[in-house]
């Protein structure tokens, strides 16, 4: 375990990194450890890439958190290295978690989400100009910040252009679908696969339980299975390699290892008496599940180390926030990472999350034919079903985790945000009579920070006042 847990600045991390190096805890970068690549190094080196937002964030001070951040911030290098080694790069788009499980089951494929470019405007504080490029292509600020992806494809500066793009459509948000179509029209051919809206089974209709507790008609699972079979064939064509049942099952087992660590981590982070790890690091950790940050093995190691740190803190009864921090369930990911810090600065603590990809966190069934298991996972995506079902799952988690309020973070321009907040808010309030607050978080919140802060403070005060009733 590291020293007394606390949130520190980037400058403080550099000092701490030197201490850790002297103590032999960290290795200098580019030194292979046990045959594995080493992504280690001082965090501030990423400023050279233009990641200016790092200067304004607060980080957990554990060596495990450092490893997590370094892993996250070296992904672009990793992708270039993979290409240099002759691996096929697959850009998986929108499905957030399903296709990468399949892709990483191949020996020579690395998959990543170009969608992840939506955080570049935040991390680089708009200096990369990606949003301006999207503007020039007719995709303006009325679209979700994921439009930064278009700019990233044009500049080619943030990730290598993938050998193949695979995108789910159907029950997805219109922003992404429209932006992907625009990308397609710019000369980046896309392999489209259909994910239907998950509906409730009709009476007497054969139905199947999905990971996470949803149910879907058997015919929908069969349909998605057939679509994933098309995706598998496309991947095989790109990889020049057949993906048999054994390999895919092994890939599912590895993905489940990631999910098991995350499940334990989430449980401890959200239920320990003292919050053992900041919300920001938990957000990053959860994000690793969707495509393993382009290195599945390292994802497992990073999460293992982080879990070890959190367990040690919980056992020692220490944490990074006050014991009376207001317990808040967070819905939707934030475009500006700093807002996760801000909640804690205001006296809040994240106790439960639904960042649009719970299907990438739930265990994939291992006792089924592999494609059937993946089809069930894909259909368990909270965003392919109704907002009502999504709200019900949030309620189940609130009951388990004891959250005292729900914060819905609106993504500017995102098609789903216009109506879902009202439905989720009504259902949560009907069931628990707890406060529900919506905030809108753009990629850089600096100009509206006082407004966001005031709203978060008001929520925390409301929660604490309700405790005295």
């Amino acid at each position: 375990m590291s020293d007394k847990p606390k949130r520190i600045t980037l400058e403080e991390w550099d000092l701490r990194y030197e201490q850790l190096q002297r103590a032999g805890v960290r290795q200098p970068p580019a030194v292979a450890i046990g045959g594995r690549p080493n992504y280690d190094g001082p965090l501030s080196r990423h400023l050279e890439d233009g990641d200016q937002r790092l200067l304004k964030l607060r980080y957990d001070n554990s060596a495990a958190a450092l490893r997590l951040w370094n892993f996250l911030l070296t992904e672009e290098d990793r992708l270039h290295q993979a290409r240099a080694k002759g691996k096929k790069l697959i850009g998986t788009m929108k499905d957030l978690g399903t296709v990468p499980v399949m892709a990483y089951s191949f020996d020579n494929v690395v998959a990543f989400y170009p969608d992840g470019a939506w955080w570049i405007p935040c991390v680089m504080e708009l200096s990369a100009g990606l949003l301006s490029i999207a503007d020039s292509l007719g995709i303006d600020e009325s679209f979700c910040p994921v439009r930064a992806m278009l700019g990233a494809f044009v500049t080619g500066a943030h990730f290598p252009v993938p050998d193949r793009l695979i995108c789910s459509v159907g029950a997805t948000c219109d922003d992404f679908s429209a932006i992907a179509q625009r990308l397609n029209s710019l000369g980046h051919p896309i392999f489209w696969w259909e994910i239907p809206h998950r509906r409730k089974p009709d009476p007497n209709e054969a139905a199947i339980n999905l990971p996470g507790g949803f149910r879907a008609p058997k015919c929908q699972v069969e349909f998605v299975k057939s679509e994933l079979a098309r995706v598998k064939a496309a991947l095989e064509e790109s990889a020049g390699e057949q993906l048999d049942e054994k390999k895919l099952s092994a890939g599912i087992k590895e993905a489940n290892q990631v999910r098991r660590y995350l499940a334990e981590l989430r449980h401890l982070a959200f239920t320990a008496e003292l919050c053992p790890i900041p919300a920001l690091e938990m957000l990053i950790a959860e994000m690793l599940a969707i495509h393993f940050c382009s290195d599945r093995r390292e994802t497992i190691e990073v999460l293992k180390e982080l879990l070890g740190e959190v367990k040690a803190r919980v056992q020692a009864g220490i944490g990074i926030l006050d014991a009376d921090a207001a317990k808040i369930f967070w819905v939707n990911p934030v475009a500006d990472l700093q807002v996760m810090n801000l909640l804690e600065d205001c006296g809040g603590r994240v106790c439960g999350t639904e960042y649009l990809f719970t299907h990438a966190l739930d265990a994939i069934p291992e006792d089924l034919p592999a494609l059937e298991a993946l089809a069930r996972m894909a259909l368990a995506d909270p965003m392919v079903g109704s907002s009502t079902e999504r709200a019900e799952r949030i309620c189940t988690d609130i009951r388990k985790l004891g959250a005292e309020a729900v914060l819905i973070s609106r993504i500017p321009g995102a098609s789903h945000c216009a109506l879902e907040g009202e439905v989720i808010g009504e259902i949560v309030q009907d069931k628990f009579d707890i406060p529900v607050l919506e905030i809108e978080v753009p990629p850089v919140t600096d100009s509206m920070r006082p407004t966001v802060r005031t709203r978060l403070e008001a929520l925390v005060e409301t929660i604490k006042a309700r405790r005295k009733r």
């Binding site: 239907p196 609106r410 098609s415 216009a418």
Partner: protein, 329 residues
């Protein structure tokens, strides 16, 4: 007879009618403030208008919504909570090339059929009801399309809207002009669905010296299915219905939507179009994203009309822009 209301062009009116129910495609008047929704930031005005229209509609015995656009898909969540009328959400795939999605569409029609029977409808497959109704609709559509060049643009758009709302009945009066109309600079209107108040655009264009010869809005010609193959119609009416609707209506939401551009290319040439009015609602991502692409794709001048669909200021702005556009042409 119960009325089943919907607005998506991929819902075949013939299928509802063949169940002994009255199909009625709703076109909202406008996106009025207030209504059933707590907040409307980020909400497409057409979806807002549709929700308000449906909730206040006293005739509806059932509502059919589709998944073609995300906000309409989510409107289902609102309607089942705010509305006493049974609501059905029909999966309409965005992809279209594979047999799997074509089958999914047919299966969804069958599921819609069960919903309609649950509302008191009869099974259309027990006799030749479906084929007969399809013939009737097809004849009416052919007649409307033939009248296109002879009717003033607004009257033509209203004829299509009336047909969609009430079904085959009154045939268009294409004796308004014994000869094809040729006055005015030929224009196309391209985009998603129009609301009732947007129909003023046809008049505005005419007053400014133009004439809309191609109504490629979702509520216009573009939203009409292709003619039925009469032989296929007799042999397998449901499959032919699916082919004409799912395979025949080209939309921005399709992935890929290359067929929309092929359709447009053909129509723009056929009608001798000299300029395009691109009509979109704010927050409609599907059409908004096509604007720049359309400009890059065509040599024709394109006028962007973005609207919130709700106020006079917008209407004046639209009128001014169309006048200026025609002056430059």
């Amino acid at each position: 007879m119960k009325t089943i209301i919907y607005t998506c062009p991929y819902v075949p009116a013939e299928w509802i009618a063949a169940h002994g129910l009255r199909p009625s495609r709703v076109i909202p008047d406008a996106a009025e403030a207030g209504g059933a929704l707590g907040r409307v930031e980020g909400l497409c005005p057409y979806v807002q208008g549709f929700i308000n229209e449906v909730i206040t509609n006293k005739q509806a015995g059932g509502i059919v919504i589709t998944t073609v656009c995300d906000q309409m898909r989510r409107a289902f969540d609102i309607l089942v909570r705010r509305c006493d009328v049974p609501v059905f959400l029909m999966n309409v795939p965005n992809t279209w090339q594979s047999l799997g999605v074509q089958k999914l569409y047919v299966d969804e029609l069958k599921r819609l059929g069960r919903f309609l029977i649950g509302l008191g409808g009869k099974s259309p497959l027990l006799d030749d009801a479906l084929a007969e109704i399809m013939l009737k609709y097809d004849t009416a559509r052919t007649s409307i399309l033939a009248a296109g060049g002879y009717l003033p643009a607004r009257e033509y758009a209203e004829t299509i809207a009336e047909f969609s709302r009430d079904g085959p009945g009154r045939m268009p009066n294409n004796t308004t002009s014994p000869e094809p109309l040729i006055e005015g600079l030929p224009l196309a209107i391209v985009g998603g669905p129009l609301m009732r108040r947007d129909f003023d655009i046809f008049d505005i264009a005419e007053q400014a010296g133009g004439r809309i010869v191609l109504d490629a809005a979702e509520t216009g010609e573009r939203g009409m299915c292709t003619p039925f193959d009469r032989r296929e119609l007799r042999d397998g009416p449901l499959m032919e219905l699916a082919n004409a609707y799912f395979g025949g209506i080209q939309d921005a939401s399709r992935r890929p939507n290359s067929e929309l551009y092929k359709w447009l290319k053909r129509k723009l040439i056929d009608r001798g179009v000299r300029g395009i009015i691109f009509h979109r609602y704010v927050w409609c991502d599907m059409w908004h994203a096509e604007l720049q692409r359309l400009k890059d794709w065509t040599d024709l001048p394109v006028l962007d009309i973005d609207t919130t669909g709700d106020n006079e200021t917008h209407r004046h702005r639209t009128a001014n822009r169309i006048h200026a556009f025609l002056e430059t042409l």
